[in-house]
Point group: C2
Chain length 224, copies 2
């Protein structure tokens, strides 16, 4: 059986879960609280990051982008990065932009302040309200960009649903769990997100729960 | 003519310059001081980031990783990501790790403090010695990782020179220009870097100069 070591609210883990489900590839999940730096887990991936995927043949793969590139090459039936080279380039640009900039400024920043600090048990690590405010302020710029793209294209990188949609939605879904997406002020982005949310492969995110941290009611509402 | 909009000390720009030279693809460079947000440049790339490459056929490409994936597909004569799928996955993992973690913690942090703040003309923006100290402290961990990899393999991602070597050396070369790499304490990493430095495609970095900011003498010394 294919195994995915993940953390439910890690946007990079969600990106791979979402991609596997879109491709209809079976997998079992193992939750890995990556901040614990378990010895057995570090032996699989010395960098200690999630997600890590063990494919059917035993190949150990890490880094979410390297994994999705692998999936598109080894299981090409439903290509998620794209077919045409210029579409692929556009998909990768959007994917990397959110995996680096949005992650640093928004999704990982909020995850760290609101979740990791709480569970990692480091004494005295309380959420920093300045960091939370900065992350929330940064978000508008990205939601404007999503609105701009979705006003011009069927999906974010072109005519077809792609890893650009999967990546952006994975990051946003984590922020949405935390109740921090200002959907009201970004209607086109919201409409695009509602379309992504209605895909069967997205559904497993609705079941994710972190103890003591309840998502807002619209989180798993298809007509939010 | 192929055109590369770049900034000489931007590690992502260097990564694409290095890859183009390894592939022996001709290109002209145009320096873009990206923080100025020139209107004409934003029309090419609304995200305002360097590098941007205009290929011979007029295709406008941005995001350094998307560009190198494009180059390996369109000009496959000398593959830099790899041939075998598991080697490609390893190359991408190392490339993304340095483009995200090392960039955030070290190379972009130091570039921002020591160069961008100086030239961007924002009043009152002086280098923050705490940020500089944190970046320098983080570096050891990455140099240990490079040493660990180069003790086990011919090049960083396997038997052959790849985008892993190009990416890591591009980031380090920027830090080296700033005189901040503690080579003395990381002999295997230093020996690997000396091998990368001796490649003809690396040479153009030796000529890069930023006004008022002189690199240490070992910067362009092959036997440093």
């Amino acid at each position: 059986m294919r195994i995915l070591y993940h953390y439910p609210l890690c946007p990079f883990s969600r990106k791979v879960r979402f991609a596997l489900s879109e491709k209809k590839l079976d997998f079992a999940v193992e939750q890995e609280n990556f901040w614990e730096k378990r010895t057995e887990f570090l032996q699989i991936n010395s960098l200690g990051q999630v997600p890590v995927m063990i494919d059917m043949n035993g190949s150990e793969l890490s880094d979410s982008t390297a994994i999705v590139e692998y999936l598109d090459e080894v299981y090409p039936e439903k290509k998620l990065i794209g077919e045409d080279i210029l579409v692929k380039t556009e998909t990768r640009k959007i994917m990397n932009f959110f995996d680096t900039k949005f992650a640093t400024e928004v999704s990982l920043a909020l995850l760290n302040e609101k979740v990791i600090k709480r569970f990692s048990g480091k004494g005295g690590e309380f959420p920093d309200s300045k960091n939370i405010r900065n992350a929330k302020n940064s978000m508008h710029h990205y939601l404007d960009y999503i609105s701009w793209l979705s006003d011009r294209r069927n999906w974010l990188s072109g005519e077809n649903f792609s890893m650009a949609d999967i990546t952006v939605a994975s990051h946003l879904s984590v922020v949405d769990y935390l109740g921090d997406v200002p959907w009201d002020r970004h209607e086109p982005a919201k409409q695009w997100y509602a379309r992504v949310k209605s895909r069967p492969a997205f559904r497993s995110f609705f079941q994710d729960r972190i103890a003591g941290l309840i998502p807002p009611s619209h989180y798993s509402d298809l007509d939010f």
